[in-house]
Symmetry: D2
Subunit: 370 residues, 4 copies
């Protein structure tokens, strides 16, 4: 299809409109033909200037990568270390901003759902921390593995740039990424001095007004995106969140019953997209993963960065349901046994019990109807 023709403009307009619902924003959402890493860069280069000070939290592998990117782009990063078992701490945000009486910090960049650790930072509370400190810093949030899986509210939480990608909650192949942008972010972009061209918002926003793009868009994925938006609307975004919450809780009950440790240390920050699990000392998570891959043809997520060999990750996001989770947990339970990790059987049973109990009400209703 001719990406300069009227039919394409209608497709573009429909998608750009539909995306707002998913980000829960009334503002514009920019689409890049790029993977999520590109949308990180876009968030930074459009809002900041060489030497701008950014507050970041090293909550895991992806946060570390974003931080490195910020450095490479010439930003000055104040990065708060963590033990990779918890999210960005709102109290630290507030303290750091209160200290910064000169308002040198121009942005706070947080990964909402850290894919390497299974920890979800509390964005709403971070917003309140910023407000409490009365600080004007922009809030940039990466939702690559949370958007359309875990509750997220761009407008309500006062996020200035939300970064997202196509390949998780939107159930598409990788290749599209997003910046949802606030008015404040757009205002900041007028004076931001980092050099940009491919990522520049302004020509995007101008062309998007008519459903077009300033350069060749990822046409095929845009068709898929239209379909994904319809599917999400059909299920209902709140139902999607509830589904992931229920699956996440079932996965965690399995892990606890096995006697293994969930990497995320703060229950208020459990990720409903994925669960990272620590293997006991003396065991190698990658060998466990290999046993499972070779025996049951299932590829679990590996430990990234400093977690290499120490954790495996169970994904439960996107187009995922009860029995897919159940099959996954069965594979883990068998793998734990085959590999010889000390653990208690019964994790699968505990997960099933939760799924069954939380299904009962619905079942009763549907049986009544029948």
């Amino acid at each position: 299809m001719d990406h300069r023709g009227p039919e394409f403009g209608r497709l573009g307009g429909e998608i750009l409109e539909g995306l707002r619902e998913v980000f829960k924003t009334s503002g514009p959402v920019i689409i890049y033909p790029a993977s999520g890493t590109g949308a990180w860069e876009a968030a930074l280069v459009n809002t900041l200037s060489p030497g701008s000070k950014v507050l970041m939290f090293e909550t895991g592998h992806f946060a570390t990568l974003w931080r490195s990117m910020a450095g490479e782009l010439g930003l000055q990063v104040d990065c708060v270390a963590t033990d990779w078992r918890r999210g960005a701490d709102p109290a630290i945000v507030e303290a750091k901003l209160r200290e910064d009486s000169g308002h040198e910090i121009q942005a706070i960049a947080v990964v909402h759902n850290e894919t390497s650790t299974g920890v979800a930072s509390r964005i709403g509370e971070i917003r309140r921390a910023i407000d409490n400190a009365g600080h004007p810093a922009l809030l940039l949030v990466d939702t690559i593995s949370s958007l359309a899986s875990i509750d997220y509210r761009h407008d309500e939480w006062g996020v200035d740039v939300t970064v997202a990608g196509s390949q998780k909650g939107l159930m598409l192949p990788p290749g599209l990424s997003f910046n949802a942008v606030s008015e404040k972010a757009i205002a900041a972009s007028k004076s931001a001095q980092l050099r940009k061209s491919y990522w520049a918002w302004e020509p995007m926003l101008n062309a998007n007004r008519n459903g077009f793009f300033p350069y060749t868009p990822g046409t095929n994925l845009l068709y898929g995106l239209r379909e994904a938006l319809l599917m999400l609307r059909e299920e209902g975004l709140e139902n999607v969140f509830a589904r992931h919450a229920r699956l996440g809780e079932a996965a965690r009950r399995a892990v606890r019953t096995w006697g293994l440790e969930i990497l995320c240390a703060n229950p208020a920050e459990y990720s409903n997209s994925l669960t990272a699990v620590r293997v006991p000392d003396g065991y190698n998570a990658d060998e466990l993963r290999k046993v499972i891959l070779e025996n049951f043809n299932m590829s679990l997520g590996n430990g990234l960065g400093r977690l290499q060999g120490k954790v495996f990750r169970i994904g439960h996001l996107g187009d995922f349901n009860e029995l897919m989770l159940a099959g996954t947990l069965c594979g883990v339970e068998m793998g734990l046994s085959l590999y010889g990790v000390p653990f208690s059987k019964g994790g699968v049973a505990a997960a099933l019990e939760h799924l069954e109990q939380t299904a009962t009400a619905q079942s009763a209703v549907t049986q009544g109807v029948a």
Copy 2:
């Protein structure tokens, strides 16, 4: 693609050759653009004449349908009743044939794997029974739900016509069906008097010699068939059978642990393609299936014919692996509980134990390699 052109002829030749491996025959395999029911008709009309006597076994719903078809086509059927819990009895075959000193019985038609009951008749033993009786009857076998899932040997077992379809072990959509034919069957077709045109073997065999077909073939499915044959060859047919045997055993262990009854009464006839499970008296299998469909989005096979409401069927054939089976069994276990059938939990655990134990050797090897 032009189905009269040279490129198509090459495709046809390749597929017709490759199919022989799957049926384990050195003879021709005929492909119909039709579903499996059509290949039943083809087997009968090519080998028999009006009023021909056929020995059949009412081993389940599909056997009953094939018997009805035989009647509709003007054959005289001697149908041995069963309780739908066992296969065709080789002893009865032998006795019936011994009695038939005038050789009036022209064919014995047996369903190898009865999809409605999860019972696999012992075709090799039936062959021996025929030989013991020294009877010239043709042996016609339906392998619609067993070919490329359960061990089957057209030549070795002296089968005259093997009936099969595309949508089970060949992992394709429905729309192609097959007759593998022995020389004896072809000889019989020369004098068979039932009227035929679409199903006639002779023009098929003539055109197939160059990879062509006497009328428009199911071109798109033939491309898929080429791919399916490659996949089966890559895995190895014996490995495919072993995989299904292992999955079938795991499913049966789950059922036994639940305290439910496997419909198939004779362990020597357990089907490795699917397991039919009886629900206790006073419970309705279709209501159970509805609970599972509505809560876990899984559609189990229903009880067909006289089994309606009395059984549900767990399929484990085709492109199926350990964790898909595990997920399926989890769905059943939760459904049994939600619906309120009296049963013992632990079926999933029993299945996992079997899968794990039978996986150990392989795992040890692969770990050694690592």
Copy 3:
């Protein structure tokens, strides 16, 4: 998808309803998982008895095949020969039926659009001929290459069984075929004595009432069929016919300009689906086709049966438009020259002139809108 489940029933119901529009009938349309040849067999075995007399016309290769099938099924065929350059003659129909005062002729079977010759028999006039003769014979019509391409009216023309397939005007792969049936045909089926099972209408009509099928249907193609019906409705059936009429006329003008002979001898019977063209004596159409295939990667239809080597066929049916036809004609014009057939250039130009002239009005309108 489970072809016994409620969702499938809705799909089936929607398709069975939508097909009526395409056949222009208020009666049922039966769908077979089979290619068109199967639907020929279905039309005969459901309405006739061994030895029934059928009037047929040998209008070309496919009519000959249908006639052979009728013989194989045990019917007594009175086949009117033709020179393969014209359709079934309504005057002969009337004369034959008037002669048949004992009403021994039970059916008249006509190929609407003979794919081998590019001749479209005049079904409406044949209907009138039957009525003029006051004869009760059934009218069976093959529309495999005309349905949804050339005007066709099952009810208005009093056709009793219309035979069709999926792979031409319905723009699908081969694998589905159809019988649209009149009340009179259904009544005849109650007493028809030809043996049938796979093709039997009664179980089909019974199961179809709820959108289901008595045996495994061609599920994947049914999804495609739903889409095809939507596309036809969107364009409008009369517009589809007009498109093909315009393309057919352009093709014929090209042929005439080249100085070649259109095989169809009667302009009232030109097919708008395809044009068969005679090559001059001393030239071989198959060599010409080979030159075109090898130089321009285009496979033209070959001469079938007695026309082998004497004609080539230009298809212009289904999802076909002006520039696809233009490209096709360019390939033929270059091929004629390369192969060395004596001809006049300018065929393409003549076709373009026609296409341009018949486009003018529409263009004027659209320009006015611009």
Copy 4:
């Protein structure tokens, strides 16, 4: 597929190796999940520093966009204007470089095939000009619409960075883009000061060594790319170039016969990917395009930038053959007539004559074989 697993590494390795043939380089080719515009940015930010001087040629719309990008990124561009009817002039390159005795010019950036004008700059001659001047500037070349369509030689022509995309000669959807890089370019990247992260070569080259990527790659398109590379190898790159050359010449003969003007003023610079055609003064190319779109459902390329309304563009690149070109030219010829541009008919005939003549030899051979 897990883009960190061993199977993916094999795919990556195979593609990265195969791409070298297409660029005709023994050096690395970097793949970005981005459209072609991103690869422009990558070429600049990896090799240059803020304020670096770049020599560019405003040969058309895309050259203008690349120049704007260079400005946005903080480079100092010396842009040689043209009339948009010719390529980058090697004589000017040589003169400019000779003048630049201080070697301030760090790069020369040229669009090989300007998609907006149908002009192909002579990269080999530009290389010689640089060498004649004895100047060390890097040579950056955009081949987005020429790679795998028009002869191109990264190594032989001493190109330092070749920019390409997936959606033209590689016959894929948009979404992947490329930088083929020389050793000199890599050396330059060590000291280049423009800020970069997503586009940075170094982490790409490091990860690529094992077939991996430093961030999520465009997995689905990579599968397509493997297929595209196989197709190109099967046809043979030189045959691909010859095919486009033949189609391009046929298109130009049509344009000349119509009496219209080919935009490209220098026959040595005709593009074999596309032909831009000027409409006579007083006529609007966009109205002509609209007539053709509405009447014949064909979307011609529009005039971009300063050429808006003045030219239309006939594409003949990628998976394109004789009859597709013929159909396209037929659409243009009819459209010219309908819209009322003064022109001479016969363009299609002239194109066919060329295609036929250049086909003769091959045809003779194949006929001999038959």
